[in-house]
């Protein structure tokens, strides 16, 4: 087990492994996304209240889910990097942040497009989840800004890891405090007491989309970590060998 972890944390090994795994993740992710898109847009019945407008959830819900998952991945890998001084973990955290920010932006944008016909407004400050999602976006921005502001890579890794962990402690508090306002947002429909309150023909494409988006996130993360590793190790011999194979041969 530990030898595998050690092997995994070696940049050249991980670089090769990620290269082999990323296409699998992408391929496995595109299948459920394809099914979810077709089934969600064409075969799922229209909502009895919202008509066809509800179909945006097939992008909105997976994006919102991943915006939070990416933060968890970022904070967890940052913590691992901080405690065990594992450079690769820091590279994963650095690669997860922009992805998380984009998913957060996607969730906010699709939510806003949906809100226009449904709530009659592009933006509603009274809705707690909208507001906490926006704060999450700012947390990502702060993390990336701190990283960008520090020139020394080791210090950037460790300082931003502290910030990610402080943020992880604060995220539930932020969510709870924002929830203190009255809510306009839809209550939970998938995970709740008494089983899901959603028609199976609507639910399966949604679950497929969540699953597919997660795999796609994995594929994007792997290829981002690859570039990150390549950049960080740009002075290492194995990268030189990779770029100029004929020089050493």
């Amino acid at each position: 087990m530990w030898t595998f972890v050690h092997k995994l944390s070696s940049p050249p090994y991980f670089y090769g492994l990620a290269a082999r795994m990323a296409p699998w993740f992408a391929g496995a992710g595109l299948l459920p996304i394809g099914y979810g898109t077709v089934a969600g847009l064409f075969f799922a019945p229209p909502d009895y209240q919202q008509g066809d407008a509800f179909r945006i959830i097939y992008v909105h819900v997976p994006a919102a889910y991943l915006s939070m998952l990416a933060y968890i991945v970022m904070a967890a890998t940052a913590g691992i990097g901080l405690i065990w001084r594992m450079k690769l973990a820091h590279a994963v955290a650095a690669a997860a942040a922009p992805l998380g920010a984009w998913f957060t932006f996607l969730a906010l944008m699709t939510g806003s497009i949906w809100g226009r016909p449904m709530w009659g407004t592009w933006w509603e400050w009274g809705d707690p989840r909208l507001t906490s999602e926006l704060i999450l976006l700012f947390l990502y921005f702060g993390y990336m800004a701190l990283r960008a502001a520090i020139d020394d890579p080791t210090r950037a890794d460790r300082a931003s890891a502290v910030l990610a962990l402080v943020g992880a402690v604060n995220v539930p508090i932020i969510h709870f405090s924002v929830e203190w306002w009255s809510s306009l947002h839809q209550g939970p429909t998938l995970v709740r007491e008494g089983g899901p309150a959603i028609e199976p023909a609507m639910m399966w494409p949604l679950l497929a989309m969540i699953f597919g988006f997660s795999l796609l996130f994995g594929a994007l993360l792997l290829s981002r970590v690859r570039t990150e590793v390549l950049f960080r190790e740009r002075r290492a011999r194995w990268v030189r060998k990779l770029v100029y194979p004929e020089e050493t041969a």
Binding site: A145, L146, T154, R155, V166, I174, S177, W180
Partner: protein
């Protein structure tokens, strides 16, 4: 030099020494204390000028404006929390000292609150009166501001520790701390509004108190870690 071994003060002694030193420094450089206070007053003055002198509106939104001004004023003073110590090498001595770093950091946060948070709390009733906010909310407002500014000093010290020595520290610090400070703002401002409407305020006060306790126990450790990283 017989018997010249260094005699260290105990933990409370170390804490008091740092607090006293920072208070003395602030006393000799009053600008550091007064500038955030003036900033607080000026931002609060801008509000009636921007939205108009309508008394009802001022009274209704005063709590939010006061809280925002307090938040920004606290941020303004946070940037210099470790800066002078960093530049003259005191910070390095603190890192090397046998006293636990989180304790020294806590002392610095306490001193920072005494010179920047406490004056805001004391001045806030004057501004509340000028906004014609109901008198019954004044005590609650001072209480929320007291609890909130303590939390801000502690939370902000993490950001100050992370950005110390960076050129672009000032704007960056706001970007790091403001999203994290939002619960304090929400509960602080809403509790004052509830008090003005003669509603129950205990929930908000309990939350602010709990947040303050959490910050008191956890923030010094995060700040100490941040300072160590910044000075590696």
């Amino acid at each position: 030099m017989k018997g010249a071994e260094l005699k260290l003060p105990g933990l409370p002694g170390g804490l008091v020494a740092v607090v006293r030193r920072d208070l003395q420094l602030a006393w000799r450089r009053p600008g550091d204390v007064l500038n955030p206070l003036f900033f607080f007053a000026i931002v609060s003055t801008l509000f009636p000028l921007a939205v108009g002198p309508d008394a009802e509106q001022l009274a209704q939104n005063g709590a939010g404006v006061l809280w925002m001004a307090a938040l920004l004023a606290a941020l303004l003073s946070l940037n210099s929390l470790f800066l002078n110590d960093y530049e003259d090498g005191t910070l390095e001595q603190m890192l090397l000292s046998p006293q636990p770093l989180p304790l020294l950091v806590l002392a610095k946060s306490i001193a920072h609150w005494l010179v920047s948070g406490l004056p805001l709390v004391l001045v806030s009733p004057l501004i509340a009166i000028s906004f014609q906010m109901p008198a019954r909310s004044t005590t609650v407002m001072m209480l929320t501001l007291a609890l909130g500014t303590v939390s801000l000093s502690l939370l902000g010290s993490i950001g100050a520790g992370l950005t110390v020595g960076l050129n672009r520290g000032n704007a960056l610090l706001s970007l790091l701390i403001l999203p994290l400070a939002m619960p304090i703002l929400i509960f602080g401002a809403r509790t004052v509004s509830l008090a003005a409407a003669e509603d129950a305020v205990s929930a908000g006060l309990y939350f602010l108190g709990a947040y303050c306790m959490l910050a008191l126990t956890l923030a010094p450790f995060a700040t100490a870690a941040a300072l160590k990283i910044s000075n590696e």
